[in-house]
Amino acid sequence: MRSFSPPPSLADRRDGGRRRVTAIATVVLAALLVIIGQLWYLQVLEGGRFQEASDKNRIRIRPIAAPRGILFDRHGMPLVDNRPAFTLSLIPRELDRDVERRDAALGRVASLLDIPYAELLEAVTRVPPDSLGPVRVRRGLSLEDVAKVEEWKLELPGVIVEVEPQRAYPTSRFAAHLLGYVREANDEQLKQGRYRRGELVGQTGLERLLDDFLRGKDGGERIEVDAMGRPVRLIQQTEPHPGAQVVTTIDRRIQEAAERAMDGHAGAVVVMDPRNGDVLALVSTPAFEIDRFTGAIDRTAWLRVVQDPEHPLLNRTIQSTYAPGSVFKIVVAAAGLQEGAITPMERTSCGGAFTLGAWTFKDWKEGGHGVVDLHHAIAQSCNIYFYEAGLKIGGNTIGRYARAFGFGEATGIDLGAERFGLIPEPKLRRDKKQRPWSGGDVVNMSIGQGAVLVTPMQVARFMAAVANGGVLWKPRLVQRIERPDRGVVWSDPGHVNGHVELSPVVWAFLKQSLWAVVNDGGTGAGAKIPGLDVAGKTGTAQMISKSKAEKGQDHAWFASFAPVKDPEVVVIVLVERGGKGGQVAAPIARKILNAIFFEKVASVDLAG
């Protein structure tokens, strides 16, 4: 049957099959055209963008830190140097991709090095996970820590120990306030956009002030890496430019001697050259451990310093004001002599107390000094004499001389954040006319009490003016800044802030009296050094009215210069709550002076 039935036309069936094959072929060709369209889009339209992406894939930029500039003392001894230090860093790209295993590794690091786990986690999460740049977690690892990390190296992918230059100081607290500390740029500084994350920035002192000079310019390497992040070849390298070198006016030997002399006391020391205003030593105690502040300090250590009731971060030489106490009597004497209000011949009987209206002012010495003239009043620091003298001279005149000697205004020292102190004026009345001075205010001012406030640096500048015959130097800290490639880029020839014109006789008298303070039975005998003519003035500044304060709550001052004939150094010592200036501050000054003039032995080398 089948063979007879007419088969469906063979040609028809073949044509039908042909059409269907053609249809399938058309679909396939259309799909190929879509693919070509996609290739056109990827390679021609978006090609540039993908080219960039592929460069970003393969090119890594590795910064090379420029060594920070070094600060030298006036004799070329380094005050701070750089030393290779170990830094624990994480490389996000090389950490385990598996979050659980990554966190386990971070936990291991936390327990090995006693770093809070949260700190590590935070460090990892603040950068993109494919970044190859190391994230610094902890600077200044000990060799022991390094050994622990190396031991676990295989289990800790992406955890590396880098060697970075780090600040090194002769001792832990060496010149902490003068130099200032260097730390990673904080969030605020990062916001200003001048610094990169992890970059070290001077935060206080000279490190901050001269940061632009000290920082130098980082170099960098453009490296081609493979997919595993392994460097394949160096594409380009830019050499780092080291920071400039700073030559300061500091004498490291004197600085160290002054720090030793202040050991155990809170207070300040300023050593200045009265011939040019050079600051030879600048000490504020208690100091903070400057080496622990370098790099990334841990939070607890930081809080301990910030919350310390002794305020170790405060630079007491310029940021703290004190009543000058009897040191101020030099100003009163100068004013009285120059204005003719008092003469060396006049004598006063000191019975230990002075009555003004309803008030009684006491001398520091029970029973008084007996009959004294100006010379003895200075040497013995007789208050009664100066109460009377002050009233004769008048508050306005004393204030005028005090301001002429630079009190109540900034010294202009290159450290910033300086306080001005205060020389009181009579209070203004409602109608803005000056009220006349009250006798009590003048009496208090005459012995440097009451509202009078000064900084140790102001006292140093003043004492230098007494020593050099009236020249008020701007305290100089930095002599010059040199760049290795360009020589001296900045220098400070010294600036005179003003002159105090007094009769030569007055200068001579003041020096003579100040010499007597130390050498002729005066209050400053504790600073006497045989063979050296030291001149000085003690001061005991009452913090609060004596009735409430315990004994020993007074600030002790000793302001001195030596040798009397051609003064070379001014030494100012302030001991907070130290007691009497003559008993506490003068011996410290003596140690410093002794070191300056007689111990010419070089000190230990920097950083062992």
């Binding site: 290739l39 894939n57 394949v232």
Partner: protein, 368 residues
């Protein structure tokens, strides 16, 4: 007239060899060898290119043998091939080697054979056998049902390896064969609707990593270092090739190993980075030429078996090419499908050349 019992002697057969088809294939294999020779892959190093050429030689022999045998004989033996192929798939579960989480290979001496690759050919022959057998005609729901079962059972086995890519190939090839066999469009439409309605089931049956691949396809920046890494790096490689390519030395994406699977599934991205849009166009034209010759052989075949064998072989190659290039260029989700004649891999090379052998066989016998 029946095919000659003595192969390769009949002069008339040789007169009908499809030289453009062979030419395009050889050009593609050469491009593959050049590309592979620039890659320093794992332990194999530069030998990958030589191994690929060696496999090409083996494949060429297989091609000759296939072409010399009458395809109708092969179709008649299809059920036997199919059972053997299924046995191979089953064997993978018992003696298979696990490579990067998938059991796809069986060790034979120092070689590894991928039964799922070989099975593709068995499947094409089986489908042709089913659609051209007397009992199956005219093609109705029964025939379609039979072919669907014959597809689904091995597909499940292959998915379990897991080798989703190969399993996914079977369906488009079957549809092409059903269309080519003259199935009524109404039935095909019904099949399509049924297929779409099973997609949710497929989603549930998928493995997590497979679902992740689809999510990544929809949103490539979901996980740039994890599951989306391949897709992103492949796009960067292709795109950065721009119009004229970076050349061999400048192809950093592949030379510095940012591109994964670069000698196998992602070889197209390597090629695109080196030779740019122009190079891709040349490559795709070679493939288009190859496929068009295949479709032409199918269209010119005088009887249904020859037409369907040619169509099946061509559809098999076309599906692999489109899925592979589609996934590498980011048009399709990532599934493991090699690029015929380009991707490194012996089984794939062998299967592609046998498919070409089937095409030649049909062409040579179209006037008989």
């Amino acid at each position: 007239m029946r095919a000659s019992a003595v192969p390769l002697i009949d002069r008339r057969l040789l007169q009908n060899v499809d030289w453009p088809l062979l030419g395009a294939s050889i050009a593609l294999v050469l491009m593959s060898a050049v590309t592979l020779s620039t890659l320093h892959v794992g332990r194999a190093g530069g030998t990958v290119a030589f191994r690929q050429l060696a496999w090409f030689g083996v494949g060429l022999m297989a091609l000759l043998v296939t072409a010399s045998v009458d395809y109708r004989k092969l179709v008649r033996a299809a059920p036997a091939f199919y059972v053997l192929g299924m046995a191979g798939l089953a064997a993978v579960f018992m003696v298979g080697k696990t490579v990067s989480g998938a059991r796809r290979w069986i060790g034979v001496g120092s070689f590894s054979v991928q039964p799922s690759e070989i099975f593709k050919l068995c499947f094409v022959l089986m489908a042709v056998w089913a659609l051209t057998s007397r009992w199956a005609r005219p093609i109705g729901p029964g025939t379609i049902g039979f072919t669907l079962v014959a597809t689904a059972v091995p597909a499940v086995l292959i998915v379990k390896q897991p080798d989703l890519g190969t399993a996914l190939l079977l369906m488009p090839v079957l549809i092409a064969l059903l269309v080519g066999a003259g199935t009524q469009l109404r039935l095909l439409g019904g099949l399509l609707i049924a297929g779409v309605s099973t997609l949710p089931v497929a989603w549930i049956a998928m493995k997590d990593y497979q679902r992740e691949r689809i999510m990544v396809y929809l949103d490539p920046f979901r996980d740039p270092l994890g599951s989306a890494y391949n897709v992103i790096q492949a796009k960067i490689a292709i795109g950065s090739g721009q119009l004229l390519g970076k050349g061999i030395a400048g192809a950093t994406q592949s030379q510095l190993a940012f591109l994964p699977e670069r000698h196998t599934d992602f070889i197209f991205a390597v090629f695109a980075e080196m030779w740019g849009f122009v190079g891709c166009l040349v490559l795709l034209i070679c493939y288009a030429l190859l496929l068009l010759r295949g479709f032409d052989i199918a269209a010119s075949a005088r009887e249904p078996v020859g037409r369907l064998v040619a169509l099946g072989a061509t559809a098999l190659l076309a599906t692999q090419i489109l899925i592979n290039v589609g996934m590498v260029t980011g048009l399709l989700p990532v599934v493991g499908v090699p690029l015929p004649l380009m991707s490194y891999g012996g089984s794939s090379m062998l299967v592609s050349l046998i498919a070409l052998g089937l095409l030649l066989s049909v062409r040579m016998r179209q006037f008989q």
